[in-house]
């Protein structure tokens, strides 16, 4: 009741403020007047009476202020005044404001940038899908395998079983996880676009609508009656077909089959998975026609369907998982040969597929930690700068305190200033993160058909400003507490400030922490950058410079074997005729690519010790491959054209395989069975140097090379010129040989190599950036602290010099302070760095996480930087003129 009344009184008074203020002023004035009169009448001289009255009355200004505050909601308007005053102070101290804002903006901005990726990959639901929270991914999981390899997409029969039996889902959709490059025969010319196979219910389960036409129905997707129908992506329809409103019912020739366009998807819908934006969708039943890989719809071994379902009303992950596990058990019992030890697990739906999220989280989490450390440095910098400023403002604080401002009031003022700084930095950080995150996107290899959207949505903004807010409090609170602990009398009287020693001790502590964190970051950064150089110099076992490559699939147009062979022979002839081309050949997939073929090799003479043979990686090549790729043949010879023509059973092995099967013997002429069910034996005709096949820097993997090419091939061209200049010519020659064909992923071997190097490059670049950032910030911080220490000690230095200290002594004095701080910080930082560097070891190539050279480089580098940061202020100290310094007081 009472409070409510006060509240209404205040509202009333809000409207009568100025009158009330004036009246109150009058009232106080009157009171003072009466008091003075009284003292006068008691015989006091008038002037004394006035001040006696004031003394007795107390602080009238403060009273008026309190009065106003009590009467109204002045708390808010006084905060606003603080903001205005703070803004004025920041404008006045432009230099330090800029330094703090830049440091913080860099720190916050890099965090926001990483978060933008986290948001895009892990948090943001896919655009266009209705109620994404209800969607769950289904993954097949092997109980006997570990890590990422234990998770697989579903086979078609398993998908159908779940789709038809799982009651906890209102619908289960499936799609081919790799949108395929498809040749679109556009008026006689082949053009590569991307298509994706989806289940007939995909659009309806996901709740994705169409702009025009209709979406698929389960009836369109019957394996025994495949319908050649496509739905186009909205942007593809706009950009490639000019938003043709009469497109429905028209047909498109895709990989040699005519498809009827039945719809255009709603705008904004880019696909069922992150980063992959197919140009069109067709149904799973068209699998054989579209990608010419027969048997996928019946195979229980081919795991290719990414599956997602919408939970039925009233169901949750737990109940759905229980049902799915039960169904998986049923499949396992019915098909023990393929599904033994196979379970299926659910993941909530997010842009990055479930099993990979842990890795993406770990990777981005590590980067977040790194840039959080950079932010800590920036905070420490800001704090020490503000403390320096606070010391300079001791007089201002003393005056305000003497005028009646309580400590809480002063702290509020300082905090408002810090938050203002943080807010400005936050705004700058948003811009910075927008810019850097798009810059980072360029690191993604062009060979990946990936387009990640990095929206600046509310999550990113909330994150950024939350970080800014926390930052503002963290760096603002210490200077605020320290700066406001003033003794007004002492400060105003002597114009020196109290507590200087304690303050400088705190500043030194902050600086030590800053140097330690910087050493830690710089160490990790140096490791990663050195590892990056190492990775660049790893020999993958083939030429990584003078080769152009292109992927071709003559089979995609439905040609028979003879026609396929003719095409490749003809193309080979044309390519060799190009200027600058030294040689060319084909391989089914390049080493270090995502594809892999494995088999087991059995030498029957070794059947006792190796009854199942040894597992080897298989590459299918044509004669001339080794020469073209720069792979050296160490024994025997390359394949012969005659062997290709006669389909001879000959293989070439690598040294790792030779060493494994026949240590110390001559492998040439050995006979082995390739594959456990092989009837005939193949003869080893050559041995080549072992390269890297799966990842850079791997342990040697046994591999063999054979002929018998599939229709999908990679053309490799060795050229004496820049391979980049050859790419257009290669694509042209493909169309010259067959206008309906088109090559995909026409690129130089260098850009192909950016994929295996991706993780190392990104980490190296980001950590390198963090290290440099940390170093610059720390340098500025150290420089600032030492400079300030010098200016604070000017008088002391003057006294010392007056008493006979030489320049060298003063120099030593100043340098000692800085170098002591640096060495303590370095020791702590290096300790922490060595302890934590093991976390990085998975990302390092050819360098130990405790590499002593790096320890030395970083320590020496930081020491040098510290010497430089201390030297400049120290030189200024040396130039102090004792007379002036002493007279200054």
């Amino acid at each position: 009741m009472g409070r409510l009344r006060v509240f209404f009184e205040r509202i009333k008074e809000l409207f009568e403020q100025s009158r009330a203020n004036r009246e109150f002023e009058d009232e106080l004035e009157q009171h003072l007047q009466l008091l003075t009169d009284r003292f006068v009448s008691q015989g006091m001289p008038r002037r004394e009476a006035v001040s006696a009255a004031r003394r007795q009355f107390g602080n009238a200004a403060l009273l008026q202020q309190r009065h106003r505050e009590a009467r109204t909601f002045l708390f808010f308007s006084s905060i606003w005044r603080d903001v205005c005053f703070g803004a004025r102070m920041l404008r006045k101290h432009r230099g330090s404001t800029a330094a703090v804002v830049v440091a913080l903006a860099l720190g916050i901005g890099m965090n926001a940038c990483i978060f933008t990726f986290v948001n895009a990959l892990l948090l943001r639901p896919l655009a266009g899908i209705r109620a994404p929270g209800e969607m769950r991914e289904v993954w097949e999981h092997s109980r006997t395998a570990n890590g990422i390899h234990s998770f697989m997409p579903l086979t078609y029969p398993d998908y159908v079983f779940f789709r038809d039996h799982a009651r906890s889902f209102s619908g289960l959709l499936g799609y081919d996880g790799d949108p395929e490059g498809i040749i679109w025969n556009r008026g006689g010319h082949g053009e590569v676009i991307h298509g994706q196979l989806v289940s007939g219910n995909a659009f309806s389960v996901a709740g994705v609508g169409v702009t025009i036409g209709r979406s698929f129905t389960p009836a369109d997707d019957q394996p025994d009656n495949p319908q050649p129908l496509v739905i186009l992506r909205n942007n593809f329809w706009k950009q490639s077909l000019g938003s043709d409103p009469h497109i429905l019912g028209k047909s498109m020739m895709l990989n040699g089959t005519n498809y009827t366009i039945i719809g255009v998807a709603q705008p904004g819908f880019t696909g069922f998975e992150v980063a992959m934006a197919p140009d069109f969708w067709t149904t799973l039943s068209m699998e054989e026609k579209l990608i010419h890989d027969p048997g996928r719809l019946t195979s229980r071994n081919s795991n290719w369907l990414l599956t997602e379902g919408r939970l039925a009303p009233g169901q949750n992950t737990k109940s759905a998982q229980a049902e799915i596990s039960l169904l998986a058990r049923e499949i396992e019992l019915a098909h023990p040969d393929t599904n033994k030890d196979m379970d299926d697990v659910l993941y909530s739906s997010a842009p990055v597929p479930g099993p990979f999220r842990g890795y993406v989280t770990a990777f981005t989490g590590m980067l977040m930690v790194v840039f959080a450390l950079v932010l800590v440095i920036a905070c420490a910098n800001a704090a020490s700068l503000l403390m320096v400023k606070a010391t300079g403002r001791a007089r201002e604080m003393a005056v305000r305190s003497a005028l009646g401002a309580g400590r809480g009031r002063l702290i509020r003022q300082m905090t408002v200033e810090s938050l203002l700084l943080a807010l400005i930095a936050g705004c700058a950080a948003v811009l910075l993160s927008f810019w850097t995150s798009h810059l980072l996107l360029n690191l993604i290899p062009t060979s990946l058909p990936i387009s990640i959207e990095l929206p600046l949505d509310w999550r990113v903004l909330v994150f950024t400003f939350l970080v800014a807010l926390i930052t503002g409090i963290v760096f603002g609170v210490t200077p605020a507490l320290r700066g406001t602990r003033v003794d007004p009398v002492g400060v105003i009287k002597s114009e020196t400030h109290s507590g200087g020693y304690r303050k400088s001790r705190l500043r030194n502590a902050i600086m030590i922490g800053e140097i330690a964190v910087c050493a830690l970051l710089l160490f990790s950064a140096t490791l990663c950058v050195r590892s990056l150089f190492n990775a660049g110099s790893i020999d993958p076992g083939f030429d990584t410079e003078n080769i152009a490559i292109a992927t071709l699939d003559a089979g995609s147009l439905g040609y028979n074997d003879a026609k396929i062979e003719t095409f490749y022979r003809e193309l080979d002839r044309h390519i060799r005729a190009l200027p600058g081309v030294i040689s060319s050949s084909y391989v089914n997939h390049l080493p270090l690519d995502a594809s892999r073929e494995q088999t087991s090799v059995i030498d029957e003479s070794l059947i006792a010790s190796l009854p199942h043979g040894i597992p080897v990686d298989v590459f299918r090549v044509e004669p001339g491959y080794f020469k073209t790729m720069g792979i050296s043949v160490v024994a025997g010879r390359d394949f012969l054209q005659s062997e290709l023509d006669h389909k001879s059973n000959v293989i070439v092995v690598n040294t790792a395989m030779a060493a494994r099967l026949w240590p110390g013997q001559n492998p040439i002429g050995k006979l082995v069975k390739v594959g456990s069910s092989a009837k005939e034996r193949s003869e080893v005709v050559g041995v080549v140097k072992t390269g890297n096949y799966r990842s850079l820097g791997e342990d040697p993997i046994p591999a063999l090379f054979r002929m018998e090419m599939p229709s999908l091939r990679v053309l490799v061209v060795h050229t004496s010129r820049d391979p980049g200049s050859l790419l257009d010519a290669v694509q042209r020659q493909v169309q010259v040989v067959d206008p309906n064909m088109a090559a995909t992923q026409v690129q130089t071997i260098g850009s192909f190599m950016s994929l295996p190097m991706f993780a190392a490059r990104t980490t190296g670049l980001l950590l390198g950036a963090s290290g440099i950032l940390a170093l610059v910030l720390t340098w500025i911080g150290l420089f600032g602290v030492i400079s300030f220490a010098v200016s604070e000690r000017t008088r002391e230095i003057g006294v010392r010099m007056a008493l006979g200290a030489g320049r060298g002594d003063v120099m030593k004095l100043i340098m000692r302070q800085g170098l002591l701080i640096t060495s303590i910080g370095l020791v702590i930082g290096m300790g922490a760095a060595l302890a934590s560097a093991r976390l990085l070891s998975a990302l390092l190539y050819g360098i130990r996480p405790d590499d002593p050279a790096t320890v030395v480089i970083v320590s020496a580098g930081m020491a040098a930087i510290a010497v430089l940061a201390c030297y400049i202020p120290a030189r200024r100290a040396v130039r102090v003129n004792p007379v002036i310094a002493l007279r200054y007081e």
């Binding site: 009184e9 009232e27 009171h31 009238a60």
Partner: protein, 114 residues
């Protein structure tokens, strides 16, 4: 700033102001200050300004009201007087205070043991 001391003082000052208005009838701020000074026999050192803070508080609670009148030196002055609600509150507060003072008195009058 010794906030705690003035908190105790505030509570008691409000009570003293309320009682003074109850006993003396309408008064302006100066008058209240003089009356308290007189009664306290210079034991209580008071910043007279705080009387106004107290007056504002009491007014906002509705326990006193103010009106304009003319002061001794013939100037317009604001006169404060206790309201009916204020009288009721005064009774409650006086009772509270006496009880409190009684307790404190009893506690302080205990005999020491040695």
């Amino acid at each position: 700033m010794g906030d705690k001391k003035s908190d105790v003082l505030q509570g008691t000052l409000d009570l003293m102001v309320l009682k003074t208005l109850h006993a003396m009838g309408p008064l302006h701020g100066f008058g209240i200050a003089r009356r308290i000074e007189q009664l306290s026999e210079d034991v209580l050192q008071l910043n007279e300004g705080t009387v106004y803070t107290s007056l504002l508080r009491l007014q906002q609670q509705g326990w006193i009201s103010s009106s304009w009148g003319t002061s001794e030196n013939n100037r317009k002055a604001r006169y404060y007087s206790i309201t009916r609600q204020g009288k009721k509150q005064l009774e409650v507060e006086t009772e509270n205070w006496e009880r409190f003072a009684g307790v404190v008195g009893r506690v302080l009058s205990q005999e020491g043991q040695g």
